[in-house]
Amino acid sequence: MAITSIIEMDNISKSFSGNQVLKGVNFDVRKGEIHALMGENGAGKSTLVKVLTGIHSRDNGIIKVKGKEAHFTNPKQAEKQGIIVIHQELNIIPHLTVAQNMFLGKEITYGKSGILNTKKINELTKKSLHELGVGNIKPDDLAGELSVGKQQMVEIARALATNAEVIIMDEPTAALTDREIESLFKVIQSLKQQGVSFVYISHRMEEIFEICDRITILRDGQYIGTENIADTSFEKVVKMMVGRELGDRFPAKNNPIGDVIFQVENLSSKGVFHNISFVVKEGEILGVAGLMGAGRTEVMETIFGYRKKESGTVKLKGKVLNTSHPGNLIDAGIGFITEDRKGKGLVLHSTIRENISLTNFKTISNGGVIVNSKEKMLVDDLIEQLHVKTTGREQVVQSLSGGNQQKVVISKWLGINPRVLILDEPTRGVDIGAKKEIYTIMNELTKNGVAIIMISSELPEVLGVSDRIMVMHEGKISAFLNRNEATQEKIMTAATGGN
């Protein structure tokens, strides 16, 4: 039987103002397969998808959809041919109902009257949600009140309602809990049986090896190759991606651990978390695991003075800190790298220089006036120290890749010479090479006695990086585990409230 490709992209090239981002890329999607698209940030994955769906025009190459050459000029045309993209930032309008979201832009009306046939819309929504196996989502639920996982299901249902044949998913699991990921995979598998194809863009190697059939790898806009998942290995894919052997994923950490430097005692915030107490030692990395909604981020934001606490104290070297405002914590030498890089970490349309300076005004100014030479020196030193790939300090951070943006955020905090550094999901949306660089930076800091608190939802990361692991469940600490006794199973048990 001949293998039929729904999408064939041949020798695709694209450049933006002289900068070539795709250099002769080949990519094809067969009927009923799950095809992973992988590469480091900036490798050209999203550009390739944008060229496919007509957001960008191609400079060169051929795109065939179901055997016919296609020249889409906007995503609507691609959608008509059954190609639908589900973005990482979901396209859901929170204050509309599930049914209204499902039929957004294609509402059913009584004839041409313009009057909505709400009954039919709700019925059809119910039917498609049921077929997808998510009958627990009701058509008149407010979309904004659903979990991210369920919102994603609504988007998939919407895609199927428009007869999607190829669904392109960009980092679909980044914001999902393990249980939600499991049900997403079930849905993907069953749709695959029905002949729907998926393009699966992700940085999570384990997931790709779990559900994908083939994998295509890009590096620096170049097509590196396409492999059958069954015939390839983890190491090979990594090597194709970074162009070199990466070695161990987690660099060895064996620095001496000192005295307790940071203490949190009985910290509470009504309805969010309760009686949180823990310590961190100099040179130690404390991993914080838990499911989404366990209150990990909220605890850290409260420690940092960004949220109001109800009770409890935070101490540095035995001295109680005033947690009424982040500025006080920063002055004491505590840094906080937030989970939401774009929403809370960076001023996206500002330059690298301006972003790094935000936390470092004390160092770079004199009587409230910025000293240019000091600012440039600080920024350039940090860019060099962290190997930020950039055209220079005046580059706007928006135009950097995810990994490099994250390095800018880290730079901003290294500038204050922190004694305690809190990192919330430091490697989310960051490619595998940059991940390792971030672990290395963390190790370097601990060698100098910095205490690190790292929230992470990736269990291999928590296990690979931490000296000690704190697990949270529904606003409470459910376990402390030492590195040598911790396993994925133990963490998951504590995170789900079991014993």
């Binding site: 809370k344 001023v347 996206l348 349309h349 500002s350 409230g368």
Partner: protein
């Protein structure tokens, strides 16, 4: 050089516009490009420019201040009251400026601490301040403020042939340019408009910065008001009505984004000059003020549309 142009792209558009308008008007009217008219034009512009400088700070924090016109009226009426009571003019003016600072600070407090959207907060205070002005003046102008040289100088004086308000405008410009470009405070203003949450998490006291920004605008508005009352030797209860629109227009024409975080005070100066050139030029050409409004509105629209297309 290339970098320089790139960094100042948002200014080049308005600047080219200003030059083109000036050349066209220069051809159409023999009086336009005379030294006298140019000085006169700058003097006319100075009032709007001073308010617009403050508005630039406000808009950079992603805010808006609709109360500037009412603040101008209330501040200058209270200053006029002090003057007619026989207070030393310099002292009266200083107190007037502090009143402006306080009126602005009230805006800032409502917005930062009360968490009210700037549009709503200043819409309310715009009405309140105007009402207080009308109550205080009983709806009548306060006249015969002072015949002291000091007070007349503010609105009507000249230094080396340059109108004093123009000098005040340039002094304010230089100081504020420096504040925005070179100080920590300036950086904080941009950061708050760019991403308030990131700014707060970087230890910036966003509330405090906002209160200062609105206070500054209040003070500059009253300064503009005092310039007007010095020229007229009277304070009008309806002074400054719709001035907020010209100030916002100058900021927007000058390329500052209403979404905050992006913009330059040089742009605002150019924007204010463009509005002044149009007003002045069309007056010289005897175009009715009805048509002037249409032209002005059209130019605001054009400026924003051009700004949009250069963003892409």
């Amino acid at each position: 050089m290339k970098n320089y142009i790139k960094n100042n792209l948002s200014i080049i558009g308005p600047l080219v516009g200003l030059i083109i308008f000036s050349i066209i008007l220069g051809f159409m009217s023999n009086n336009f490009l005379t030294l006298n008219n140019i000085l006169n034009l700058f003097r006319q512009v100075s009032v709007n420019a001073l308010i617009a400088f403050g508005m630039t700070f406000v808009i950079l924090t992603a805010g808006i201040d609709l109360s500037v016109g009412s603040t101008l009226a209330l501040g200058s009426a209270l200053t006029a009251g002090l003057l007619t009571s026989g207070m030393d003019p310099l002292l009266a003016v200083l107190i007037g400026l502090l009143i402006g600072l306080a009126l602005g600070a009230i805006n800032g407090l409502i917005i930062a601490k009360g968490k009210v959207a700037p549009f709503i907060a200043t819409l309310a205070t715009m009405t309140i301040y105007r009402g207080v002005t009308l109550v205080y003046t009983d709806g009548k102008p306060i006249t015969g403020l002072s015949d002291s040289f000091t007070f007349e100088m503010i609105g009507g004086g000249y230094v080396f042939g340059i109108p004093f308000p123009v000098i005040l405008m340039f002094i304010a410009f230089i100081i504020l340019y420096f504040v925005l470009r070179k100080t920590v405070f300036g950086r904080q203003v941009y950061a708050i408009g760019g991403n308030e949450e990131a700014a707060k998490l970087s230890g910036i006291k966003a509330d405090r910065v906002k209160i200062w920004v609105y206070s500054l605008t209040g003070m500059l508005s009253v300064l503009a008001g005092i310039i007007i009352s010095s020229r007229l030797n009277s304070a009008q209860p309806t002074a400054g009505t719709t001035y907020e629109l010209d100030a916002i227009a100058a900021v927007v024409i000058g390329g500052t984004s209403l979404a905050g975080g992006k913009g330059k005070i040089v742009g605002t100066l150019i924007g204010a000059l463009i509005i002044g050139v149009i007003d002045n030029g069309l007056n010289l050409l005897n175009v009715s003020s009805f048509y002037q409004q249409i032209v002005k509105g059209g130019i605001i629209l054009l400026a924003v549309l051009l700004d949009r297309s250069s963003d892409k």
